[in-house]
Symmetry: C2
Subunit: 392 residues, 2 copies
């Protein structure tokens, strides 16, 4: 049994003059409207949110979603949290409820309001997604954790620093360029990778060596939402639904030092199983939206997806493979790097982007004739991993 | 289709010399051992936790559960949060995954470490479960919110303050007495209600009129865990499993001022539907574990359960109905009031208590011949509501 997407919504991403409450309410309302499903038919609401507690002093945010429509009163609403993969986690729980027959229609919302804190405050809240006792409490930040991946990758394959930096800059430039077409993106920028490499230190400071500011994704407010139903029902009520052909979660140890720092081991397992369950291979992918919280993460995602062999992720950059117009555009939306990364919303945002791509009304670049896509969303330093295959 | 409990564990409740990590790891390990299910068979882990972010600087706690056993590596682990009902919320998600066929065995853990903060800090973190923007941010605390219920109830039915206070003291005394038999309880106390009423102001200060200190539940560290499988499988592998015959969640508006302050409107709906789905009535209940975060909440729970008519919850106290030995003992364990209330663990704790009661190896008072019981767990000021019926 599978479930399908019959309604979507996606707010602008950026520094918004909207509260976390506004974000939940607005995006939920719009997804419902888009689905044309009566609110009274919604059997359950799942909210992906990382830390409204940390950012906005609001835990227990899910019941606020009842404000979306008077008919939603008494509808069970549940918050799901797995760091930056909270959005995908919420989709999984909704999918299970649908497949269990507990509900016939589900509303999934992902939302985060991050700009309520300054950069230092945001860094602290995000660090709570690390293994606090050994990582965050000792001053480890997320740029620091992903710098460990960059160093681990460089060391394992013997790259020179300049070589790695060039590839990371190519990823950043591609995503900023892709965001030019995305009207909801936070940081579209018409640049090439040499411009990024040439930025002076004060414009592109070292954050956690070898990662610089332009290797990092953004601090973002934003939300996205989906209405889901079982695929058999979706086909009856909609002529433009998109199937979630597979959704696989794998977890790994919270502490990065208990895992590889040069590949996404658990992420690879999730992706392999998602291909298998959807009965596809990497060659069938018309696009991918992947978790480029840092540029090194997109490089590792190429290898986890099987777009490149291990250690060769950088070789496919500029070869017309992952760029728009290539065989498998990656982050045609601009990705977390340029679209923005409201952490708990990101998994839902990716799913909305995939669905809209396959519905033929993409947010941003439309990949003509796309039939199959994947989203790859991670939480923490890849302790939580989700791969979702979407089919038209 | 239904699911059944085939393994349980429950830590001591109180101020423990254990971290949130210890609590998750120890209780999960013990439930697995108790179930005799190999760790490699566990298809998913759900963690109920309210705010390890607020209490322990640790969001994204679920993957830590992989440390329970090396065979759990890569098992999907997910945190679920609905305030003080996070434990029941985690059970629901596990149940759906089992019924959807996504997993065959599920591990559910509820855990909270609260004593890491002082009382002021705990009060602030708990207030994040209110509608922060209008309640918590304006100085409203949870004693304050439940004082609104006490005032609303008193006003609606025209009670004198003394009359209400006597009933609330009877509830407190009953639960402290019940806890005497519970070896894991935080605050057993051999008292009667007159002793509580006679406490001087400095021993039983007013917290939020009309609620005093002895109307409030405790600040507690603790955890509990369950292993679940589908009932058909449970019957094959265990001769002492307990069925979750129904599990119903209802949500209501986050803001108390949008709802009744004299009854649990959404809670009643959850309970009615849980009776219906389990094909029972209130008369079939051999016991109930209910959410006495404040004494007034237990009084309202009597009415929500149908043990008493609206406005008459106090009349059944002392009548041999809700006391141990009565027709339907309520909180034979001591309840949140005397057993303790590690908020995110509470729903799982209640389920463990219900299961152990029906398995015939109760934690605390054994109700002889018990065949059917209910747990009623709420989050926030009853914005999240869960009713679970258990059958032997």
């Amino acid at each position: 049994m599978s479930v399908s997407i019959i309604g979507t919504s996606h707010t602008e991403f950026g520094r918004l003059d909207k509260s976390i409450y506004d974000l939940v309410e607005e995006t939920g309302k719009r997804a419902l409207e888009d689905s044309k499903v009566d609110a009274e038919k919604i059997g359950g609401i799942w909210l992906g949110n990382f830390s409204a507690g940390g950012f906005n002093d609001q835990e227990h945010l899910a019941p606020y979603a009842l404000n979306i429509d008077p008919e939603l009163r008494f509808t069970p609403a549940t918050r799901v949290e797995n760091a930056c993969a909270s959005g995908s986690a919420a989709i999984r729980e909704a999918k299970n409820a649908l497949e269990a027959g507990e509900v016939d229609y589900a509303l999934v919302i992902g939302a985060e309001k991050m700009t309520s804190l300054d950069t230092k405050g945001v860094t602290k809240v995000l660090a709570m997604a690390s293994y606090w006792e050994e990582e965050g409490a000792n001053g480890m930040t997320f740029p620091g954790l992903f710098a460990e991946y960059a160093k681990g990758y460089k060391k394992r394959y013997g790259f020179e620093e300049d070589e790695l930096r060039e590839n990371l800059a190519k990823i950043a430039a591609k995503n900023h360029q892709n965001a030019l077409e995305n009207p909801l993106a936070q940081m579209p920028w018409d640049c090439d990778y040499q411009e990024i490499l040439d930025l002076p230190d004060d414009k592109n400071p070292m954050i956690a060596p070898p990662l610089r500011l332009y290797d990092c994704s953004l601090i973002t407010d934003g939300a996205a939402a989906l209405v889901l139903t079982r695929t058999d029902k979706a086909k009856k009520i909609s002529d433009n639904s998109v199937e979630i052909a597979s959704l696989v979660q794998t977890s790994d140890y919270l502490a990065l030092d208990k895992r590889s720092n040069s590949e996404f081991v658990a992420g690879k397992k999730a992706i392999e199983k998602a291909y298998e369950e959807a009965n596809i291979s990497v060659d069938d992918l018309d696009f991918a939206e992947v978790h480029d919280c840092f540029t090194i993460a997109e490089l590792l995602a190429y290898e986890a997806l099987g777009l490149a062999e291990d250690g060769k992720g950088g070789e496919i950059l500029g070869e017309g493979i992952v760029e728009v117009g290539g065989k498998t555009p990656v982050n045609a939306s601009g990705g977390l790097k340029a679209k923005g990364h409201p952490v708990g919303a990101t998994g839902v945002s990716m799913a909305v982007l995939a669905a809209r791509q396959l519905m033929g009304n993409a947010i941003g670049h439309q990949i003509e004739g796309a039939k199959t896509g994947i989203t790859f969303n991670i939480g923490g330093s890849a302790a939580s991993n989700y791969a979702l295959v979407f089919k038209k």
